[in-house]
Amino acid sequence: MLEKALKGGRTYWTWVAALLAVIGIGIACYIYQFFVGLGITGMSRDVSWGFYIAQFTFLVGVAASGVMVVLPFYLHDYKAFGKITILGEFLAIPAVLMCMLFIFVDMGQPLRVLNVLLHPTFNSVMFYDMCVLAGYLVLNILVGWTSLGAERKGIAPPKWVRPFVILSIVWAPSIHTVTAFLYAGLPGRHFWLSAIMAARFLSSAFAAGPALLIILALIVRRYSTFDPGKEAIQTLGKIVTYFMLTSCFFLGLEFFTAFYSGIPGHMQSFIYLYKGLEGHHQLVPLMWFSTILAVVAIGILVFPFLRRNEMILAFAAACVFISLWIDKGFGLIVGGFVPNPFEGITEYWPTTPEFLIAAGVWAIGFLVLTILYKIAISVKEESGGEAIH
């Protein structure tokens, strides 16, 4: 089926070329980082994880959110999602790939990466994170590719696929739970030491992922003859609405516990992020921008008559995605390191090469996404689009 990615119009090839250019710049910057070290980033002794790990964290959520279309279709026979399950599965693949690349570019000694396998350490959450991410990648490739292959031939997918589908549904929440455990089990990092961390991760993921899927579905409809369907997009809109509300509610719970208890350690990171701490307030505008986007998005999404207009829905989805990207793909990670264990403050901002490396990884993700979607859509344009199961 890969050959379908090689046939495309002018727009398609321009897009691919643009992505390749960004990837090229990213690789050049990575080579610089490889030889000089992570010193070229904005990270420091105090803020020892930055943009890379934050992107990884956010993208695990995007990967996990594929389950939001797979589950209703396979477990509840929700037919409207039949057309877009493949879009969910094929979104998960580049998302996991980007996660792995972000971990890789964050490593001080990337050539020693296989030490994680050579010396498996069962008390390290990172070991489990690697296992669940790799497993999820394999499951999505297996299920997505097999189902699409069957659809191309106009037959139902082979029976052996179904257990893997069920497994992938159970597996999806696990990848984001384990990712949350990377943070939620660290003593002395008050901002992360919260039992609700995994729940927050999952709810924000199930809002941001489907929000991206809405935008992707609308792009697909515009640039191809395949229509993902009005009903599917509307249902995604409802999913985004409920999970965005849940996500904001969970954040509110964190605020309550921190500020009603009044324990300084629990309040400090929040104060740093939203108000500024001891004269340091670099992230304040960004966090408020995220908050405003969240309010605007919810203000639109909770009214069905607004949500039903696809252009307004797309706008709200973009607000949700950007808002959560700032919150989780930046603030949540950096905020955990401020203040440091001595209650001192070191601020963090990514450097230009660091940002370009991250952009390169995103471009690799979008390139894989483009290729996979191109294949899926070409098959769907021929078959009429309905998956059978």
Binding site: V36, L38, M43, S44, T121, M126, P187
Partner: protein, 269 residues
């Protein structure tokens, strides 16, 4: 590419010489290794069930006394100096913090001014229950079962910095760049320098203990740093703990630090 007969013999001859040379070297190394006998621990090496340290701030006469300990540590372990271009990426094993920063959560507005501005020496706490060891995905940092020292294997560390996020004491530093150009003082050839991309920290001078000498900082501290086996009631560190009121950093986290601080006590009344 084609080569003629002459070139072929030249290359073949060169390769053969190289091979023979290599074999000779290998044989010599083998002979050397065999003749040196099995690797044995130094009989003079110091042993303990669990090493611990007590920092008696009152015994430091001046800031210079404290700096002497820091310099001894950093000199012994080839710790690079701060890169003026990237001060936030510094590497340090032993340094000072004021009371409110060393013991956050215990700070008090009306603490006696003397204690408020005292430069407390801070270092890796060699926790009995170390979070850094718990999170390390490769066992590059591990607790030595024999004596409780939290060790670092710089050759195994992948530089993921999970340990830095996990350490509640900010004891760990990362080599954001190649540290060697920043080692300005004379190099200590007894201790390895590090490469870029690995994490490092105080290791209670395990390499000195193995040779029967006290940690570098303890040696130059004039008794302000008491070091010994906390399981041995007769040890220096136990004598300090038995006769003074001591505190540890963030004991509420359950990490059980092995570094104690004397604040006040008999000699300070």
């Amino acid at each position: 590419m084609s080569i003629n007969r002459r070139e072929f013999f030249k290359i073949a001859g060169f390769a053969a010489a190289l091979g023979l040379g290599g074999a000779t070297v290998a044989a010599a190394v083998k002979k050397e290794v065999e003749s040196s006998g099995p690797y044995l621990l130094d009989p003079k090496g110091l042993k303990a069930k669990r090493w611990a340290m007590a920092v008696d701030m009152a015994k430091f006469q001046s800031d210079a006394d404290i700096q002497k300990c820091i310099d001894a540590c950093h000199q012994t372990h080839n710790v690079p100096e701060v890169d003026p271009a990237n001060p936030a990426q510094e590497i340090k094993w032993l340094w000072t913090e004021t009371y409110e920063h060393a013991f956050p959560g215990n700070e008090d507005e009306f603490i006696a001014p003397h204690y408020k501005h005292l430069p407390f020496l801070v270092l890796c706490n060699h926790c009995e229950n170390p979070p850094c060891v718990r999170v390390c995905p490769t066992k590059a940092t591990f607790k030595r079962e024999s004596d409780g020292i939290v060790m670092m294997d710089m050759h195994r560390c992948i530089g993921c910095r999970f340990c830095m996020a996990a350490c509640p004491y900010g004891a760990r530093s990362f080599n954001f760049r190649d540290p060697r150009p920043f080692i300005k003082k004379e190099l200590n050839r007894e201790f390895p320098t590090r490469t870029k991309g690995v994490v490092e920290k105080c290791t209670f001078c395990y390499e000195r203990l193995a040779k029967g000498v006290m940690p570098a900082c303890v040696e130059v501290s004039n008794g302000a740093l008491a070091f010994g086996d906390i399981d041995d009631p007769g040890s220096d560190v136990r004598k300090v703990l038995d006769n003074n009121f001591t505190i540890r950093r963030k004991p509420e986290l359950g990490t059980h630090p092995s570094v104690y601080y004397v604040i006040g006590g008999k000699e300070h009344a």
